[in-house]
Symmetry: C2
Subunit: 213 residues, 2 copies
C-alpha cells in the first residue's frame, strides 16, 4: 500500500470521506481551478480546514505551504487511492427492479465500474437485456465468474437468499460484495462487504420527522 | 420528545444503529422469541453487550435486570422512536431507472412508507404507471404537495437539477429529503436530508480491493 504514510492505519471514517473530496475536486477541475487552499476547500465542503489537512496528511499530504493543493494532482491521487484508475467489473445478482436500476445506471461506467452480467432465478427474465447487458440464469454464475475477471458482486436479492449466495460468491473468489439485501452477511476476513440498506436510510428520515412532532 | 431520558441528546451514531436493532428484534419475533438478554443480542448482532445497554439506555432503557428485554415490547418501542407506527407519504422526483426502482420497491410499504406520486420532466414518461403509481409532470408538483400530505421527497434526478428542486420542495413545506443525487444540498435548518450516494459506496469497495493489490 504505497500511499500510506509509514506505519499509519487509515481510519474507516477518513476512507468514507475520500469520495466526497474526489467529487469536490472534480467540480473544481470542471470550473477550471488550478489550485485550492484548505481554507477555501473547507468553505465549500463545510468541514474544518484542519480536518481537511489531517485527512490528507494520512496519505502523506498533497499540499504545499502557501500554495495550497494542486486540484488535478490531488484529484488524481485520491482517485488512485480509491482505485478509480482501474476498471472494475461487476456482476449483479438479482434482475428485479433494483438490480435492473443498478445495471441501467450509466454513471458507474464513467468511473470505471462496468456491469458485465445480471443473474436471476426467474425464467421470465432470462435472455432479456438491460442496456445491452444480458440477464443470465443464476445456475451459470460459477462458470461466468471462472471465465471473467469479476471484482465486485452486487447482491440485489431477498434477504432469505442472501447468505447462501454470498457463500457461493466467496467460494468463487469474489472479494467485494455490494450488499443491497437487508441482511448482515458473514464472509471470510479477506472479503469486503459494503451495505446499502435503503429502508434503514428511510428510517433515519422518519425518526427525524417523528422527533419534531 | 417523550422517549428521551431527561436532558439527553441522542447521538447520530445511536440513531443510525436503531434500524438494525429493529431488524434483529423483528427476526427474533418471527422466531417466536419472547425475551432476549443483552448478551444474546450481542452475540447475534456482533456488537458488545455494553454498547447495547448504553444505546438502549438513551431511551430510558427497556430491559429488566435478570430478565433481559421483552422482544415485542422493545421492537415496538424502537419502532415508535423511528416513527414506524405512522404512515409516511413519499413523492419521487425523477422517473428514471432509479426513481422507478424506488417506486417499485414494495418493502417500503410494509414499513408504512407509501409512494404517492412520481414526477418527471420527460413527456414520454408522463401518464405511465409504476405499480399503480402515476408519473406526473414536474410542473404539477407544487399543487400536488399542496393537496396531499407528503412527508418525504426522494430526489432521483441529475445533480445539476438537485439544488433547484430542493429549494422548491422546501418552499412547499417538505421537511425530509431522501437525496440520491450526487450533490450536497443546502436546506433550511428544519429540513432533514438523508443522502444515498451509490457511487461513493462503490468507491469504498474499490478502495479496499485496491489496497490489497
Amino acid at each position: 500500500m504505497v500511499y500510506l504514510a509509514a506505519g499509519r492505519e487509515i481510519s474507516k471514517a477518513v476512507i468514507k470521506r475520500l469520495p466526497r473530496y474526489f467529487r469536490y475536486l472534480q467540480e473544481l477541475e470542471a470550473e477550471g481551478a488550478e489550485r485550492i487552499s484548505s481554507e477555501e476547500l473547507s468553505r465549500r465542503m463545510k468541514v474544518t480546514a484542519s480536518q481537511i489537512r489531517q485527512d490528507l496528511n494520512n496519505f502523506g499530504g498533497f499540499g504545499q505551504q502557501g500554495y495550497g493543493y494542486n486540484v488535478v494532482y490531488l484529484k488524481e491521487e485520491i482517485g488512485k487511492i480509491l482505485g478509480l484508475n482501474k476498471i472494475h467489473n461487476i456482476v449483479i445478482i438479482g434482475g428485479g427492479n433494483l438490480g435492473r436500476a443498478i445495471a441501467g445506471y450509466t454513471r458507474f461506467e464513467n468511473r470505471g465500474f462496468l456491469v458485465r452480467g445480471i443473474f436471476d432465478v426467474d425464467p421470465a427474465l432470462i435472455g432479456k437485456q438491460v442496456r445491452g447487458i444480458n440477464v443470465m440464469p443464476i445456475g451459470e454464475i460459477e462458470d461466468f465468474l471462472k471465465n471473467n475477471e469479476i471484482d465486485i458482486a452486487a447482491l440485489a436479492i431477498p434477504k432469505a437468499e442472501a447468505q447462501k449466495m454470498a457463500d457461493l460468491l466467496c467460494a468463487c473468489g469474489i472479494k467485494a460484495i455490494w450488499n443491497f439485501a437487508h441482511k448482515d452477511l458473514e464472509v471470510p476476513d479477506d472479503v469486503y462487504v459494503e451495505n446499502v440498506n435503503l429502508i434503514e436510510s428511510l428510517m433515519q428520515l422518519s425518526y427525524k420527522l417523528n422527533k419534531d412532532n
